[in-house]
Each structure stands twice: as C-alpha cells, then as structure tokens.
C-alpha cells in the first residue's frame, strides 16, 4: 500500500508500485488532466510536478512519489495556476487542447522560478512538450503573459 500526496490530499494505492504515476492518477484517483501521449517521456502530455519539479508521469513509477508531493493542474498554487489559465484563455492557446495541461505544468515550473523568461528560457523549458496542433507561438505568448501576471502579483 503506497501513500501518495496528490494536490495536498493523501491517497492510498494498493496496486503494483511500478505503476506509472500517470495511471494511478488517471485510472485509480480519477485525476484525468495529465494525458497519455507516448508512454516514453517523449511528448510531455503527462507532465505533473513532483515536489514542484516537472516530471513525465507516464515514465515515473508511483513508488518514486512516496513522501513527495504530486501536483497536477488542479493543485497548482493559486497565483501561478490562475496566471497560467488566464493567460492561456487570453491568448486562446488550445486547439484540440490535449497537450495543454502538460504544457501548462512545464510553464508553471518555469515561471515559478523565473517569471520573466527570455525566449530561449521558454524554449528550453517547453521543448519537451509536443503540441501536434502547432500552438507553440501562442504558448510562448501565454507564458510571457502569465509570467508578467505572477511578477505583478509579487510586486
């Protein structure tokens, strides 16, 4: 029996400890915002935070999360989460939208550390997240916008 902390709540999981965090979240805990894209940490659709660090949940076993905090889009700190969601809405980023929660989790880690990222910073932080609809330009704009909102909130 594993005890996992997901978005601040403790949940128990009695399946195979090798089960990737993605499937524990999706199939056992009904948290479906992280998406399955590749299963090999190649596309980033499954990105969640483990103690604030973005990880590919499709390739990280549940056992690795014991004693750590798993965060999904629903559990981001209010300021960062709202800044990102507002920015994504303002820039009308999503098309099919399937990759976007993963994109936003990568962006959340970036702007938490660095709310005024350069273009190179953004590309560096986001290049592991694939968008098949090709919304990259809007994602870049939304990251900048969200970062500014976070900066303003801090000031």
């Amino acid at each position: 029996m594993l005890k996992l902390t997901v978005n601040g709540k403790v949940a128990s999981f009695d399946g195979d400890p090798d089960t990737p965090i993605l499937w524990v979240l999706r199939d056992h805990l009904d948290v479906t915002s992280p998406k399955f894209g590749c299963g090999m940490a190649l596309c980033g659709a499954c990105t969640v935070h483990l103690d604030g660090v973005p990880i590919r949940s499709c390739s990280t076993p549940a056992s690795a999360a014991v004693g750590k905090k798993i965060t999904t889009i629903e559990g981001l700190p209010a300021k960062v989460g709202k800044a990102l969601q507002d920015a994504w809405i303002a820039e009308e980023v999503p098309q099919c939208g399937y990759c976007q929660t993963g994109q936003m989790m990568s962006a959340a880690a970036l702007i938490t550390k660095n709310p005024n990222p350069t273009e190179a910073d953004i590309v560096g932080a986001m290049d592991g997240n694939v968008c098949r609809c090709g919304t990259y330009h809007r994602i870049q704009k939304a990251v900048v916008r969200a970062g500014k909102a976070v900066s303003r909130a801090k000031a």
Binding site: G15, D16, C38, I89, Y98, N129
Partner: protein, 719 residues
C-alpha cells in the same frame, strides 16, 4: 503476387454498405451526393415531453430560457464547438456566451450534405452548415417572435428579437424563456429570412472559444478520460502485421499478472482487462500468441516503391483533359520533366486511439473520439450483431483527428471486447499500437511533363499520379472507372491557365491499409505541382512568381493572395544566406499562397519564416481561422520535413515519437498569416494550411543550394 491486405480494413465499407441498405446514404456517390435534410428531431434524440421547449435539430430553448445549441461536428481542435453555435446564435439573436453546447448523436438530420454522411472532414463543417445552421437559428427566432406577437396580439412585423428577448415597437419585451410555452405550440415557419451581413454581431467578430476554459482547467472530457461505473481498461494485442489473426493463445501468464481481471479474444486480437492501463498492458505483454500474419507479411518498403513505379507505366483514369492534352507535346520547343515521391505517413494524433463501450438495457453506448458518427453506429451494430437502432454514439472532444478517427476499427473493437467481457470497457491503444496499426496516408509517385513554346510559355501540362486510393477502400462505390475524385485534389483543380492539360491517376493498391489524412491528396499533388512549376521557371529562366502571375492572368483571387504573400515576405529581397520559395493553390474553395524563407545549416535546411495569405471568402471566426491556417502549416511542415512510415516484412518500422518525431517549439518557424477581406461564401480552412508549405520550402532550398528535393521527407535528402 501477394494479396493486398487493405481490404481487411474495410470497416468503413461494411458500414456504408449497411448504411446504404438502411437507405441513409445513396448507394453511389456516397461522398458527393447531396441529401435533402429536413429539420426534425429523430426519435432517439427526442426529449421527454415533460417541459415545453422550442426545439429543432440544432437548438433547444427551455422555459427557463436556457439555450442549448447542438454541435453536430466533432471538435478536434478546429473550433466547430464554437463556430457551429456562432452560426445559430447569430440568427437566434443571443450572445454566444449565453449558450450551452451539446454534442449531437448519430442521426440522419446531422448528415454532412457535402460528404453524404455524418462526418467531420474535408474542411466542410462551416461550408455545409453555413446556410443550414443560420436557418435553424432563424427558424427558432421566428417562432419566438410569432409567439410574442400572439401573446401581445400585435402583428409579428412590429416585433423583433434582440439579445435573448423579443421586443415590440412599443417597448414591451419578453425574454425567450417566457415565450417558450407559447412558441412550443406553434408550427415552425416554412421559410425564414436570414440577416444581412452588415447586421452580423457574431459572425466575423472576435469570439472566445467555448471550450478553452474547460481545456485549460483540465476539465474537458476526451475519449481517453471517459469513465463508466464498473468499467475495465483494455489493452489489445493485435497482429504485428495488419490483417493478421491470432491462431493460438496461451493466456496463463497474462492472467497470473496481479490485477488482470479478464482476457478476451475478438477478431482483431486478444484483449487483457484490468482496472488500470498499466496492468492491462503488463498482462497483454505476458500473452503468448501465435499469429497468422497473413499476406501482409510480404510487404517491404523497397518493393512497394518499385511496384509503384512499375504500376505507373499503366494507363490511368483521365481526371481532366483540356485542349489537345499531350498530343502536341513533341512539337514543344522545350520539354521539362520531373518525378516526385511522397512516403506513407501516420496520423499520430496526440490522443492515441481509444473508445469506451457500455451495454445498458439492451442498448450499446459508444463514447469516444469519433469523426464519423453514422459509420460508428452502423459499424458497431454490424460488429456485435445488434440492430443499429440499439447503438448510440456519444462524441467526446478529440485529442486530434486528422482523419484517423474517421475509421471504425477502434469503436468496433471496444464494443466487441465489452460484449465478450460483460462489463463496460475502455479500450486504450498504446502509442506503439497507434503508430503501427494506422490507416496510412498513401505513398505516391508523380510524373510530370511540361511543354514550353519558343517564348517559354507553358503550352502543355501533364501530371500522372500513381498511388493507392483511400476511397476505393473506404467508399468503394464512389470510385467508378478507376476515378477516385479525392485522388485528384490538388491537381485536377489546377488554377493555371495552360491550353493543354492532362491530369491522370493510376490507382495502385500497395497492400498497405491507407486512410484520409488532413488535406488528403492536396498535400501530395501540391508538392508535385508547385515544385514542378518552379522547375519550369528555372528551365524557362523566369522568376517563379512572374511565371505564376503570367499563368494566373485574370484570376483575381489567386493573383491577390500570390501578390500579397510575396510582397509581405519581401520577394526578391532575401537576406544574404537565405532564400525564398513560393507556392499557391486553390483547395476547399479557398485560395492561398505561401512563401518560405530558408537558410542552410550543417544539418540541412532551416526554415525561418512562413508567410501565408489566405482568401477563404467570409471569415466566420477570425482568430480561429488564423489558428487553423497556422496549425495546418505546422502539421504539413512537421510531417514533410522528417516523417516517413516504412515496412519490413509487413511490420511498420516506426513506433513512437523517437523514430517518428513531432515538431517541437525550438524548430517552429515564424508564421505570418493574412486573410483577404471578402464577402464571398465561406471556403474551407481546416486543411488549407497543409499542402503548400513543403513545396514552398523545397523551392526555397532549390534556389539557395541548387539542389532540387523531389522526395519527402525533405531532411532525409540531407542526411
């Protein structure tokens, strides 16, 4: 001679045939025949008669005033979840923010008249809905106005609808909700008047997408997110070679995996069921299966290529002939010849194929990412031997479609597994399943010949395409006398004024299962045609833009987009070390021109900027029109630069994004898009961006390096 396996994938065909028997589709011209549609709610969609409401197939208004608009096309990113309601809301005189959206069931009233089935594809959603949905909104509005007029005992002409209410010239006002009881007793008007374009408040104006918030809060439900009570997750082992069958199954080790609940066999393979995907997949990996891989085991890419070339010597169907065709080609002062080749491609939607099936009270409910609801209904019915009336289709958001989710294989598999297991089942394909069991974009060979007179004018243009026909597999009755109308997209509609033209298509079944892929043959033919026009320009020592302008004389729409795109991109003014390449065409009723700016690096060409100008007539949703063109360009770019599907002993050699790479942010060029202002009827948009980007890039590369790329993927030519 190997037997083509492609017929084994003809679920669409079976489906359509059964649909035809039901009289839903015409037996010939299924995709092109227009059907007359009346507004009526099919019985399966009728609401319980408890509360009065104003309703037609596209809008419902209840007594509380809640307006629900039925979206009858699949939302796969292209924005129909917003653009369809925009058309209704415009005429209904309600703000878009006030409406709820519901996905339509499978029903004849939702048939796409441009395609002959309830299909989302062919860049037809807005074009097909353009009049139909505005009339649906106007019909409901007229009923409400008439109800108010009766209530007030005044002439209807003295009343008008505005912002969710009917207003009398005296200033009296009733909200729609208050008029529903009365309106529900009135007969729908036989004729309605649509608003003038100058009075539009919604169409052509900025509107927020209605699905954005759900998507960024993680609340949007995709097929893969569906959950039903007592549901199990299935992972399906399919034959390594498409079309193969399991002949011997030992599931002892699979059943021994902790958490595996059941193992069931269906026609397409063996499914392992568990409470989560990881366990189901682990159980599946423990299956011991002896496969009969079937005839497809002989498929090898080199052989496929050489057989395609062999087939290309056969005479094909003449899709277009102008003037004397090629009769006078020998008299040309100069002849230009070239061949172009494109590879098989996978769709690779980011949401892998998945579907949920549940049986309730003798009904089968299919919930998932579906592009062809009617096909799904009839396909599943046939696949589980149930009457179609007992099969109900529920469409979720699609995490990408591109044509893959038109196919019915996964819906039938889910239903068969759920039936065999006696439980609700969500079937999820792994990325590897998705990559290796696709319906691939067809491989193609294009042989082009042009004849020039002594002044360098093009007098003869000959395009011969040899390729598998998707339509011959999916909708066989549509292919008559060797003519697949979809194969000639991008060549038959050649916009250049050339006196003698022949467009010839040879259908060659390679044995590989093929499917429609965003922009279908437009992307294949446009690569050949627009690369070749540049080769003609080189041969006749003309500027590629000047040559195109010369051949487009009098075609205002084509000339306008070409002129504007080249001006914006700085044609003739490329920076040192860079070059520009151009391409233009008409497809889906939309004219567009693209200019690519490239440089060379050690790794091969680098694309810096794509400039696009588009004339799609009336733009319904400006921001999303922009998004669709950008998306199409980047999908065409992503695939054309790097992607290829190859076969070895019948097995697809690519499996995931490591060997079938997706475009990433760091590789994404600047994209500059402009729309031409127009009041013409809307053209298509969803696929328009795809076809021109690769020929424009190949043309720029040729200008820069002198190396003409005649085969995709482009980067493979620089490896």
């Amino acid at each position: 001679m190997k037997k083509p396996i492609s017929q084994t994938g003809s679920v669409l065909q079976d489906k359509l045939e059964s649909s035809n028997r039901r009289g839903f589709l015409k037996s010939t011209g299924a995709l092109s025949g227009a059907l007359v549609i009346g507004f009526h709610l099919p019985a399966s969609n009728a609401q319980p008669a408890a509360a009065p409401q104003v309703a037609n197939a596209f809008v419902k208004i209840d007594a509380k005033g809640q307006i629900t608009i039925i979206c009858h096309r699949s939302e796969m990113g292209q924005g129909v979840y917003t653009s369809m309601p925009m058309l209704v809301a415009e005429e209904l005189e309600v703000p878009l923010s006030a409406v709820k959206v519901e996905m339509a069931p499978s029903a004849p009233v939702y048939i796409n008249a441009m395609l002959g089935g309830q299909i989302t594809g062919g860049s037809t959603s807005v074009r097909d809905a353009w009049t139909k949905l505005r009339e649906a909104g106007a019909s409901a509005r007229t009923l409400l106005v008439n109800a108010a007029a009766e209530t007030w005992k005044v002439p209807a002409a003295e009343c008008s609808a505005s912002n969710g209410s009917v207003v009398h010239k005296s200033g009296k006002k009733l909200a729609y909700g208050a008029l529903v009881a009365k309106a529900s007793t009135l007969k729908a008007p036989e004729k309605v008047t649509l608003k003038d374009a100058k009075d539009w408040k919604i169409i052509g104006k900025p509107q927020a997408r209605l699905d954005t918030a759900a998507k960024v809060y993680g609340k949007a439900q995709y097929g893969i997110d569906v959950k039903k009570p007592g549901m199990l997750i299935a992972s399906l082992a399919q034959a390594p070679v498409i079309g193969g069958k399991a002949v011997k199954v030992n599931d002892v080790k699979a059943r021994a995996v902790k958490g595996v609940v059941n193992v069931v066999q269906i026609g397409d393979g063996v499914a392992v069921l568990a409470k989560d995907f990881y366990t189901a997949k682990k159980g599946r990996d423990a299956l011991e299966i002896e496969w009969d891989n079937g005839a497809g085991v002989n498929l090898n890419s080199l052989e496929i290529e050489s057989e395609l070339r062999t087939a290309s010597v056969n005479p094909g169907a003449i899709m277009r002939k102008d003037g004397t065709g090629i009769a006078n080609l020998d008299k040309a002062a100069k002849k230009v010849e070239a061949e172009y080749e494109l590879p098989f491609l996978a769709h690779a939607t980011l949401e892998p194929v998945n579907c949920t099936a549940e049986f309730i009270n003798g009904e089968c409910h299919i919930t998932g990412p579906i592009q062809f609801q009617q096909g799904a209904q009839y396909g599943v019915a046939a696949g589980i031997s149930m009457p179609p009336e007992k099969v109900f289709i529920h469409t979720t958001f699609l995490g990408g479609g591109y044509g893959r989710k038109l196919e019915l294989d996964f819906q039938i598999q889910a239903a068969q597994i759920a039936k065999a297991a006696g439980k609700p089942v969500k079937l999820i394909w792994s990325r590897e399943d998705d990559m290796t069991h696709d319906f691939y974009r067809p491989v193609s060979l294009h042989q082009m010949v042009a004849g020039l007179d002594d002044k360098g004018a093009v007098t003869t243009f000959y395009s011969k395409m040899t390729s598998p026909s998707v339509t011959a597999r999916a909708f066989p009755p549509v292919v008559q006398n060797g003519k697949d109308p979809f194969m000639a997209e991008g060549s038959e509609n050649l916009t250049y004024k050339i006196p003698n033209v022949i467009i010839e298509n040879v259908i060659h079944d390679t044995g590989v299962r093929v499917g429609y892929w965003r922009s279908v043959s437009n992307a294949l033919n446009a690569f050949a045609v627009e690369s070749f026009v540049d080769e003609i320009a080189t041969a006749s020592k003309k500027d590629p833009v000047a040559l195109r302008m010369e051949m487009l004389k009098g075609d205002t729409r084509s000339l306008t987009v070409l002129k504007l795109a080249t001006e914006k991109a700085g044609w003739g003014k490329a920076a040192a070390g860079r070059a520009l390449g151009v391409a233009q065409m008409e497809c889906y009723g939309t004219h567009s021109a693209i200019v690519a700016e490239v440089s060379m690096t050690k790794a091969g060409p680098k694309v810096h900027k794509i400039t696009a100008v588009v004339d799609c007539g009336t733009v319904v949703h400006p921001d999303q029109a922009h998004a669709q063109i950008e998306s199409g360009i980047l999908l065409g770019f992503s695939s054309g630069m790097k992607n290829v599907i190859t076969f070895k002993d019948g097995r697809v050699e690519q499996s995931n994004f490591d060997n079938y790479p997706m475009l990433r942010m760091s590789e994404t060029p600047i994209v500059d898009i402009t729309f031409v202002q127009s009041t013409a009827s809307p053209g298509g948009l969803g696929e328009v961006g795809v076809p021109l980007v690769m020929p424009a890039i190949a043309n720029a590369v040729a200008t820069l390096t002198g190396k003409r790329v005649r085969k995709l993927p482009l980067m493979a030519q620089f490896a």
